[in-house]
């Protein structure tokens, strides 16, 4: 059974190069694309940490702010697939998987927002560029996203200064790793590729997320102060 090919994940190639790093492909184009388009998680973070910072190390706060934006990305992805009806078109087993992962990611958002309090960043705008519209694109993107989450948590959990936060991060890591294995199983690829998982640091994940262009820098302008010219 072959592993997922990234060409299958996105038809316009936007996410392909970003996720390519997970699979050991060259990163040159990834960096080029990251520089050209997309808003990264780090760029979306703004403002100094507040109350949470008083109790925690500043670096830990920054890491959890990054983590919250990543969880926003995941929870919105699964929620959108449910809302547009893609999950409803799946068979029972796969729909159960998609709904379960969505429910977990929403719970992750809720708890990290609560932990960060006023230091929690606002939810960015997302554009999943068609990857929530079809079952096959959704599944492949979910695999890539869960693999990336596992790599991210493997990378950052040991770097947290507060050991109680590390313990909490590990409880997220084990769940995300099982998400990844479950997604891979349903996608028909090997659930566990290596004997040891590779880690990724914040900068690496940030560049990958930026290259997907899933985080949109532009919010729709829906309000204006112009005088109406309707028929009256």
């Amino acid at each position: 059974m072959s592993d997922l090919t990234l060409e299958q994940i996105d038809e316009d190639g936007a996410i392909q190069e970003g996720i390519a790093a997970l699979y050991g492909d060259t990163r040159a184009d990834l960096f080029r694309k990251a520089a050209l388009g997309g808003t990264a998680i780090l760029a979306a973070l703004a403002g100094p940490p507040a109350a949470f910072a008083a109790r925690s190390k500043t670096r830990d706060v920054a890491i959890f702010q990054f983590g919250l934006n990543f969880e926003y990305l995941q929870s919105t992805f699964y929620t959108e697939a449910e809302q547009v009806g893609t999950v409803a078109r799946m068979n029972r087993q796969k729909a159960f998987w998609a709904k379960t992962l969505g429910a977990h990611e929403r719970a992750h958002v809720a708890i990290i927002k609560k932990v960060l309090g006023s230091a929690a960043p606002k939810k960015p705008s997302f554009n999943f560029r068609g990857n929530t519209d079809t079952e096959s694109q959704f599944t492949k993107t979910a695999v890539a996203m869960e693999d990336l989450t596992t790599a991210l948590l493997t990378g950052i959990a040991p770097t947290l200064e507060d050991r109680h936060l590390t313990a909490a991060a590990f409880s997220l890591l084990t769940v995300e790793a099982r998400h990844a294995a479950w997604a891979r199983h349903l996608a028909g690829v090997v659930p566990i590729v290596r004997a040891f998982d590779r880690r990724k640091n914040l900068d690496e994940v940030d560049r990958i997320v930026a290259s997907t262009r899933f985080i949109s820098s532009l919010r729709p302008k829906t309000t204006t102060k112009r005088r109406p010219r309707y028929t009256g």
């Binding site: 038809e11 316009d12 929620t79 959108e80 449910e82 809302q83 547009v84 709904k99 379960t100 969505g102 429910a103 977990h104 929403r106 719970a107 992750h108 809720a110 708890i111 990290i112 609560k114 932990v115 705008s125 997302f126 554009n127 999943f128 560029r129 068609g130 929530t132 519209d133 079809t134 694109q137 507060d162 050991r163 109680h164 936060l165 590390t166 313990a167 909490a168 590990f170 409880s171 997220l172 769940v175 949109s216 532009l218 729709p220 302008k221 829906t222 309000t223 204006t224 102060k225 112009r226 005088r227 109406p228 010219r229 309707y230 028929t231 009256g232």
Partner: protein, 278 residues
């Protein structure tokens, strides 16, 4: 396949194998127990026992800073979605690039806000990518067309629905299927009737100076018969400086509310809300 004559032989074999395994497990447990008792009795230099050393070297698990709550499932609710036109695009009669063009969509409305379409469905076309069927703000009213997903921004979701009843001259806003707002309205006169059909809310105008439109005005995708009206003759939902005329057939097609009502509606109705005029 198990042959009838061999089934008894096979069952007996299974029983023997089970007995052997059970004996082996019991023996191993006895040996382990004896070894453990022997180890616990052994003294280390300095008078400490192995069990004491184990207590020192194996700390209790750290209490995590937080524990994720119960997974949050989505509730079943009425949902509509819209998306902005991110790049100018032709809307087509079918989800293919060679289908006839229904209209061309720009990035902005006549009011300078993001141009948005109400999404009615999607279709994957293999290498042609995903196509979106959208309700369009063009004449004839009720027109729909297909646009490539790549031309649109991210989906936005609303759980509201505004219904205008031209006979009763009322507006009712539903949220998740339940009425949350109701008001009397003024609608178009017989010569300039308010069009019936399915539409959506495109934008919101605020803080302008025009008493005849009241404090807020919503732009809709509905078009009037007055096609030569400035900016294309779009139907708006707005306040008024003549509340004494409401309810009734008093307008050029727009839907007028008392100013206190339009303020209430502006608080409750998000952009992208589907609009039914019946």
């Amino acid at each position: 396949m198990i042959l009838p004559g061999r089934r008894g032989v096979r069952s007996a074999g299974v029983l023997v194998l089970s007995a052997v395994l059970a004996a082996a497990v019991a023996g191993a447990l006895l040996l382990f127990g004896a070894s453990a008792r022997s180890t616990s009795a052994r003294q280390l230099p300095g008078g400490h026992s192995d069990s004491a050393a184990l207590q020192v070297s194996l700390p209790s698990p750290l209490k995590p800073s937080f524990v994720p709550p119960t997974p949050l499932r989505l509730s079943e609710r009425e949902t509509a979605r819209w998306a902005v036109v991110q790049s100018p695009v032709a809307a087509r009669a079918q989800p293919t690039l060679d289908a006839p063009v229904v209209t061309r969509l720009g990035r902005l409305t006549p009011e300078g806000t993001s141009n948005l379409v109400l999404v009615l469905g999607t279709q994957a076309r293999g290498s042609g990518g995903v196509w979106v069927r959208a309700r369009l703000p063009v004449l004839p009213n009720g027109t729909t067309g297909w646009v490539p997903r790549s031309a649109l921004g991210g989906y936005q979701f609303v759980h509201t629905h505004l219904v205008i009843d031209l006979e009763r001259t009322t507006a009712v806003l539903y949220r998740q299927g339940r009425p949350v707002f109701q008001a009397d309205v003024g609608v178009g006169k017989a010569a300039w009737p308010t069009p019936r059909g399915e539409f959506y809310i495109r934008n919101k105008l605020v803080s302008y100076r025009s008493p005849s439109y009241g404090p807020f005005a919503f732009g809709t995708s509905a078009r009037s018969v007055l096609t030569d009206w400035p900016a294309g003759g779009f139907i708006g939902i707005h306040g008024t400086d003549r509340p004494d005329l409401l309810p009734g057939r008093v307008s050029h097609g727009c839907i007028r509310l008392r100013n206190s009502d339009i303020v209430g509606l502006a608080r409750l109705m998000p952009i992208g809300t589907p609009l039914t005029i019946k």
